[in-house]
């Protein structure tokens, strides 16, 4: 923690421009700084700015090593939406920004309130959200602790910190928040370079092989999807967008290396919009024949991903349809080495290969003949079946998210089949195992009810299906691979659609 320096209050655009120019001592226009200041201003967070001198910032101290720069020249700006001047004790905190002497940003953590409408937002979703608590020095030498939600941001310094290191540092800080045991020794870009096997002072970014080495050395699991040899149509065919969306929805930020006109760049994907009234989602299959024969891609309703771009600033909206055209590779740190199957493959196993198979239909028919379904569930089952034969934009919508066995149990807590799920996962001690939970919906309940009518669990390592739940009935598989035994359970109560699992891995720290 540094020490209190002064207060500022900004209430007009001219004041804001003057303030911005006063702290960015360079000729060019500092885009990230202004993006941060203007988005904060729009939500009233520049009403009070507290300036802290010489804050504790390991990254900047490291940057100054071996140069003439003095780490004490860093200034930290804290932003508050206090309307009464001089008091910040009861106001909302908008975050902080560590500004290098040239106006670039050595570290920032800005509230998500700049892009969302608080807890009621149903348009912007940030599953890769972390919380940050900060002790702020006050004028009377007391301190104030504020906690906000957001994602860390850092701008390159054109030396040892380029976009790859900046993106990785943000993701490292995020995973430290989710799991305090990981990335214990990583604080700065130099730390990343060292672990990647390159010179700490390297003036340049990293390539995917070096990033792979970094994760290997720190002992954190990572999936690297290489699209460098593919052309646009092929990346589409590999369901890149579906996979990126599912990892984000599972609270796993994705670093994407993208091709620019003069080289490569790294972006960090942390959230998405949810355009439930999307015309394209209906019109693409309905008018233009763009239709998966088996289900309706959930990304049809995702127009934008929310990204961090070290060159431009935090929380930009990135059009999802552009990703397959510019992707080079995707880097996804994951919480377990056993995540081998990709989300689109899990959805394919669950829906196309299983639900649509003749054997599954025949199996169900025979079971239901001897053990009929509850009358009210026949209605839900029938509704579900209608979406297996899509004619336009009404196909089944799978939503695939990463869950541990413990998460699945929590998700089924208030459902009649919770005892089945619990018995299944406890019996084989699968609480700690990872599954792709393929939630099954159709457009109306997916968009406007944020609900599902069933779930299929696919083991992320073996690709085995452990549990199939469709309206009114579930099938659980017990036993080892060679002698798996199916069990069938018919619901005794109405099995109406129920709420989606919340994004992310539930048992992770929030």
């Amino acid at each position: 923690m540094g020490h209190f320096s002064c207060y500022k209050h900004i209430t007009t655009i001219p004041e804001l421009l003057f303030f911005s120019r006063s702290i960015a001592r360079r000729d060019d226009y500092p885009i990230p700084l202004n993006k941060i200041l203007f988005t904060l201003y729009r939500r009233g967070f520049l009403s009070t700015i507290l300036v802290e001198s010489s804050p504790d910032n390991k990254q900047y101290s490291d940057e100054c090593r071996g140069s003439e720069d003095d780490p004490r020249n860093l200034l930290r700006y804290h932003f508050f939406n206090a309307s009464t001047s001089g008091t910040v004790a009861t106001s909302a905190y908008g975050g902080y920004c560590d500004v290098r002497p040239d106006g670039s940003i050595a570290d920032a953590f800005i509230t998500l309130d700049t892009i969302t409408n608080g807890g009621n937002d149903s348009y912007v979703y940030i599953p890769c959200r972390s919380e940050f608590s900060l002790v702020i020095p006050m004028p009377d030498e007391s301190t104030l602790t504020h906690t906000i939600g957001g994602f860390p941001y850092l701008e390159k310094n054109h030396k040892e910190t380029m976009c790859a290191q900046a993106a990785l540092l943000g993701v490292v800080q995020y995973w430290k928040y989710k799991n305090s045991g990981c990335f214990a020794e990583i604080y700065t870009a130099r730390d990343i370079n060292r672990m990647a096997g390159v010179s700490e002072d390297r003036k340049g970014g990293l390539n995917a092989a070096e990033i792979k080495e970094f994760f290997k050395q720190v002992g954190h699991d990572v999936i690297i999807l290489d699209y460098s040899m593919l052309i646009f149509g092929e990346t589409e065919r590999l369901h890149l967008s579906t996979d990126v969306y599912s990892f984000i929805e599972s609270s796993c930020p994705v670093v994407a290396a993208v091709k620019t006109y003069n080289g490569g760049h790294a972006l960090t994907f942390i959230g998405h919009t949810f355009d439930k009234n999307s015309w394209s989602a209906m019109a693409d299959p309905g008018y233009f024949g763009k239709m998966n024969a088996f289900f309706h891609e959930n990304t049809s309703w995702i127009e934008n991903l929310i990204i961090q771009d070290d060159n431009f600033g935090p929380y930009y909206f990135f059009p999802l349809h552009r990703l397959p055209k510019i992707i080079n590779c995707a880097i996804i740190p994951v919480p377990s080495p056993n995540i081998k199957i990709l989300p689109h493959e899990a959805a394919n196993i669950a829906v196309r290969k299983t639900l649509y198979s003749n054997e599954f239909g025949e199996f169900l028919k025979v079971e239901l003949e001897s053990n009929p379904m509850l009358g009210s569930n026949l209605h839900w089952f029938d509704e579900f079946r209608r979406h297996l034969n899509p004619t336009c934009g009404d196909g089944l919508v799978p939503r695939t998210i990463l869950q541990t066995g413990a998460d699945v149990i929590v998700g089924y807590e208030s459902h009649e089949f919770s005892y089945v799920v619990k018995a299944l996962l406890d019996h084989h001690d699968l609480r700690g195992n990872y599954f792709w939970a393929v939630e099954l919906s159709w457009p109306s309940i997916y968009c406007f009810g944020q609900s599902k009518s069933g779930t299929i669990l696919v083991d992320t390592h073996t690709a085995e299906i452990s549990f199939v739940h469709i309206p009114g009935v579930c099938i659980a598989f017990s036993g080892s691979q060679d002698e798996r035994v199916p069990f069938v359970f018919i619901a005794k109560e109405e099995d109406a659609p129920f709420t989606h699992c919340r994004p992310g891995v539930v048992n992770a720290r929030r």
Binding site: C163, A208, E210, A257, S357, E362, V458, A463
Partner: protein, 54 residues
């Protein structure tokens, strides 16, 4: 702790034909996914990840 077997002896599918059907249904996808995974791993070994700095 209740196991599936303890919970649901009545729910256990015993008909051989039925077991074959459902296992066939779930096996198809598993095989396809494991093949895709192997192919991905093979490709990633062949690909040179060093060519693109960012």
């Amino acid at each position: 702790m209740s196991t599936l077997r303890e919970l649901a002896d009545n729910n256990r599918v015993t008909d051989r034909e039925q077991i074959t059907r459902i296992m066939k249904a779930v096996q198809k996808g598993q095989d396809a996914a494991l093949n895709a995974m192997k192919e991905r791993e093979r490709r990633s070994k062949e690909n040179d990840l060093r060519g693109f700095h960012f």
